[in-house]
């Protein structure tokens, strides 16, 4: 079922063709170390863009620059039409973010978490109330509304976390290894949410380690040692490397890497 969705999404994104993220020769240097080396790519509206790479390949650095958390050493990038260098505050209003660590407050209830994160994005009380009602129903969390988030199973937490990240209807949502430590069934359910978001016009920028997840993306880029070594749809990449799975594509590219973690 996911296959068919991908095809249709791919089609619609190419139809709209509106560029949401554009990176041009984006570089981040820490002393002698070039974490992200002149990366260039475009992401279209409503697209699910996978960002792959071994640990230390520079994924997080690139993502931090796009989120306005870190300023590029050289090159340009725009997110949702705003320059990462000069308009980080505007960018922050238009993006959602979910970190690889589970990032909700465990000592607050489901409703309180929704209220807090909605609140800091400046949603009005009325709007927030309607939204949180809708979200709780959608996730089937009615019975758990008043429960502390810490007592929920990890899968639910992650889904809640994602829903909160897109609560304010951002143009782009950045997901940094969102499904770490979750079982395959929950991971699939999580991806259903991602598809829903993409269908509603939210662009999804996702980093991952799981190759089955890479298959779910419309297009993926693979970073090796700070550079983007490949960028295409999963089927395109498999064709180019003449292999049958993304695992093999990734392996062929990643083994060329000279640097590892740290």
């Amino acid at each position: 079922m996911h296959r068919s969705k991908i095809v249709s999404l791919n089609y619609s994104s190419k139809m709209s063709g509106e560029i949401v993220i554009q990176a041009n020769q984006l570089t981040k240097q820490f002393g002698d170390f070039i974490a992200a080396n002149s990366i260039t790519f475009e992401v279209y509206k409503g697209e699910i863009f996978g960002f792959l790479g071994a640990n230390g390949a520079g994924k997080t650095t690139a993502m931090r620059m796009l989120c306005g958390l870190s300023s590029p050493s050289s090159g340009q990038a725009t997110v949702a039409g705003f320059d990462v260098r000069t308009q980080p505050e505007e960018i922050k209003k238009n993006i959602g973010y979910m970190s690889q660590k589970f990032s909700l407050y465990e000592d607050l209830t489901v409703a309180e978490n929704i209220q807090f994160f909605g609140g800091i994005y400046g949603l009005s009380n009325k709007h927030l109330k309607a939204k949180s009602e809708e979200l709780i129903n959608q996730l089937g969390l009615q019975s758990a509304k008043g429960q502390l988030v810490g007592s929920l199973p990890l899968g639910w937490k992650q889904k809640l976390s994602f829903s909160i990240a897109i609560l304010h209807q951002p143009k782009v949502v950045f997901l940094d290894e969102p499904t770490g430590g979750v079982d395959p069934v929950t991971r699939r359910q999580f991806w259903d949410l991602i598809y829903q978001a993409a269908e509603s016009g939210i662009t999804v920028f996702v980093t991952t380690h799981y190759m089955d997840e890479a298959e779910y993306c419309n297009r993926i880029s693979i970073m090796v040692d700070g550079r983007i070594e490949a960028l295409d749809s999963p089927s395109g990449l498999k064709k180019r490397f003449n292999v049958s799975s993304m695992d093999e594509v990734f392996y062929q590219l990643a083994r060329k890497a000279k640097r590892s973690d740290n």
Partner: protein, 377 residues
């Protein structure tokens, strides 16, 4: 503004849901006041003393020399009038004074009886008691050695005890020598330091550990506001704690606040901000709650206990430690609170200490904010 309130409300929820920490926060001052209620022994060395000699005869000269020669005292100045003695006490430079009335030597020789007055700063009761005891024993020693000297007949020796110097002792500021006077400001310095430094650093580092900090930084909520809203609950809790300590000391220990309560609260708020900036500084240099806690405990609690001056008199420490004590904010806060609460002094007498504390706060705040921003870049 609405976002700020949302944030502060969330912080309060964190605080109130963590019952154990909350209990510790409010149990701590009570436990400490009880604990520190027991007397602490102090060793005295080269304590500064002021001498006012109206008599200026051989006997007073000899006694002053004895005082000077002892390891316990160091004569700061010899003054001519009582106002100067008072001023010296207020400045906090001296801990005791000895006053010889006019005709001291004559009285002693002819009336066989003379009075000497010993004044000690009672806001530090242990030190004060020890000082007066040392002084009277020096005087008694002089009496036995010189006034009963064997150059006279055995008859005279028998009479020796009729030459009497009667030391009259007076405690300034704390006439009943209540220990509470001394340790209440100390507990205040300690508790506020502990609550603010440890709690802020832990609460900020916890967000880092949980990964929520990243989410907050990616949100349009300003990083500076994150810090402010995290510090806010602890500022308020600390003020509540301050009130609890003061109420305890006034009603349970019977220690009045002699100076201005408003001034006391203002200075305490300044001290709380000093501690909050320290907490922030710790949180920017650590990544785990344990490290933050350890750093706050080792880096803050210990120096505060050692160098604030309420457990161990700073003037008895070796010089390097005395110098180190100057960078401990609690030392200055302790001096200020003692001056306001016990001596009843106003801003005119404590502006110097307050200024030092203010400078420290600005420095720490600037440093930690800078570090915090660097981390973002």
């Amino acid at each position: 503004m609405k976002q700020f309130i949302t944030f502060v409300r969330k912080e309060f929820k964190h605080v109130f849901r963590d019952r154990k920490t909350l209990l510790m926060l409010f149990g701590l001052p009570i436990v400490q006041i009880v604990l520190f209620g027991f007397a602490l022994t102090n060793e005295i060395k080269n304590s500064k003393i002021v001498v006012l000699d109206y008599s200026k005869d051989n006997v007073t000269r000899a006694i002053i020399d004895e005082v000077e020669a002892s390891q316990y005292f160091e004569i700061a100045t010899e003054t001519k009038n009582i106002q100067e003695v008072e001023a010296a006490f207020k400045s906090g430079k001296i801990k005791s004074a000895i006053i010889f009335p006019s005709n001291f030597g004559n009285d002693l020789l002819h009336l066989h009886k003379a009075q000497v007055q010993i004044i000690a700063d009672g806001s530090d009761p242990n030190t004060a008691t020890t000082l007066t005891n040392y002084l009277s024993s020096i005087i008694q020693g002089y009496q036995q050695q010189h006034l009963a000297s064997p150059q006279s007949s055995p008859e005279a020796r028998g009479n020796s005890m009729s030459f009497q110097i009667i030391p009259e002792m007076r405690m300034l500021y704390n006439p009943e020598l209540k220990g509470a006077h001394n340790f209440v400001p100390g507990v205040m310095a300690l508790v506020l330091m502990l609550v603010c430094v440890m709690m802020t650093s832990i609460s900020i580092v916890r967000e880092k550990e949980l990964g929520t900090m990243e989410v907050l930084l990616v949100s349009p909520f300003k990083p500076l506001l994150v810090i402010l809203s995290k510090a806010m609950p602890y500022l308020i809790l600390s003020l509540v704690n301050l009130i609890v300590i003061l109420l305890l000391s006034v009603f349970a220990l019977g220690l009045p606040i002699n100076g201005s309560v408003v001034l006391l609260f203002l200075v305490s708020t300044l001290y709380i901000i000093t501690a909050l900036s320290l907490g922030l500084l710790i949180s920017t240099s650590t990544a785990s709650q344990q490290t933050a806690m350890l750093l706050s405990l080792m880096g803050m609690l210990l120096p505060t206990m050692l160098f604030a001056g309420f457990m161990f008199p700073i003037e008895n420490m070796p010089l390097p430690l005395q110098i180190i004590s100057n960078v401990v904010p609690a030392k200055w806060f302790y001096i200020i609170v003692k001056s306001i609460m016990i001596k009843g002094l106003g801003i005119a007498s404590i502006w110097k200490e307050t200024l030092i504390l203010f400078g420290m706060t600005m420095f720490l705040l600037a440093l930690s904010l800078k570090k915090f921003n660097v981390r973002l870049a």
